[in-house]
Symmetry: C2
Subunit: 215 residues, 2 copies
DNA sequence: TTGTACTTGTGAATTTGCTCACAATCCTGG
DNA sequence: CCAGGATTGTGAGCAAATTCACAAGTACAA
């Protein structure tokens, strides 16, 4: 019987789970059938015991003395992370980043389908972004009544970020991937993850500095 | 005297530092002159004591009874994270994502300048991406002899990720921002940060699932 | 069947990170 | 100049996450 997984999985575990899945997809493509936790450590840099403990939050997936069946584990992780079924996703922001996201093959390959694009710029509304028509951001609630999407992506300039979030929340969205460099205020039951390119670069720049500050 | 900051700053602290900086830039734009740690908590959701302790790794920036001077703290954080001076950055991958990155105004505003773009597709080499000429990825080492860039961005399909990383390392790059969904193998003295859209969406999808598994 | 070489799953120990709580400091008004 | 109200910086205690270490399981060869 699978364990009760809906309660208290550490966030770091969750993030690593996604990493394992990436590695497993790779392995499956190369035709590897079986893998051990120590092999996972070699591939991902994540400690083998960590890997085993992470999995233990959700059940038992390996066989002592043997290891893990790559295909089986890949499917299990996909199920845990809910990337086994197609998820419809809304996108606000039809700029360069929005365009890159819609055209990004990895999303569709992993079952995330951007099904509607919104913008507040009247020069863009009505035009097409790849195979999608850009809609007025004001119509997002009514349009999502049909689509019933639960995930939204914000790819707008920072000053429009909070506004976009409000509209997504009003439209019934429960999870937001935010590319705007703004701290969003949303209700407690809405999950937000921020991706900030500049922050990432700043962290990298900090590490560079260590070399120089050494006397 | 500033503390020895080059030794053992927790990674979570570093990531939050970048968040504080974002908030401070915002505050500065709105003309706020002074701010307290509890106000930072209200803005960012990060515990006030956490904020103060994070700062304490690098020195003392506030005044008891008063708080922090917004402009002063902003500058201090910028200095700590080394975003005060312009950093030249190399980009590999002239696809949709690469294009979005070069056109992203936030990077330049925060002193990260993408100064060269590389690709391995001969249909793209020689053409222009915004104001930059796309160069052959094979020339990266020789070109970086002039530029002396220390940071590189990988924005290529996953199967080309490791190859791009190798070329960056060979060109003397010390820090890599990787958008390819691949686990890169690099020498110990090279820092890598991964940004994986699909992973982020998967983590969000997991959180959705909690609602449904509740009986 | 037994022994050997592996590998998992997990309680316990360790390490790391977070929060509390308070002395020390500072400004303002009287 | 002093009292009152506010806020910092940080040691100590607490919580969370990571790693260790080992019992239990498995395959295979002899």
């Amino acid at each position: 019987m699978p364990k009760n997984n809906s309660h208290k999985v550490p966030m770091p575990t969750l993030e690593r789970l996604a990493t394992y899945l990436t590695a497993l997809v790779d392995l499956a493509e190369r035709g590897t059938a079986t893998i051990s936790s120590s092999e996972i450590e070699r591939l991902t840099g994540i400690n083998a015991a960590q890997f085993r403990k992470d999995l233990s939050y959700f059940g038992e997936f390996g066989r002592p003395g043997i290891g893990y069946d790559v295909e089986e584990l890949r499917e299990s992780l996909a199920k845990i992370l809910k990337v086994e079924h197609t998820q419809p996703v809304l996108l606000i922001g039809a700029g360069n980043l929005g365009s890159a996201l819609v055209g990004f093959p990895g999303l569709r390959a992993q079952n995330f389908h951007i099904v509607a694009v919104f913008d507040n710029n009247y020069n863009k509304i009505g035009r097409r972004l790849w195979d999608l028509e850009i809609c007025d951001v004001e119509d997002i609630s009514s349009i999502n009544k049909d689509i019933q999407s639960r995930i939204g992506i914000i790819a707008v300039p920072s000053n429009a970020g909070q506004d976009a979030a409000n509209k997504l929340v009003a439209a019934g969205i429960e999870a937001i991937l935010n590319f705007a460099p703004t701290i969003l205020k949303v209700p407690d039951d809405v999950v937000v993850r921020n991706v900030d390119f500049v922050q990432e670069l700043a962290i990298l720049a900090f590490h560079l500095s260590e070399d120089k500050t050494a006397s």
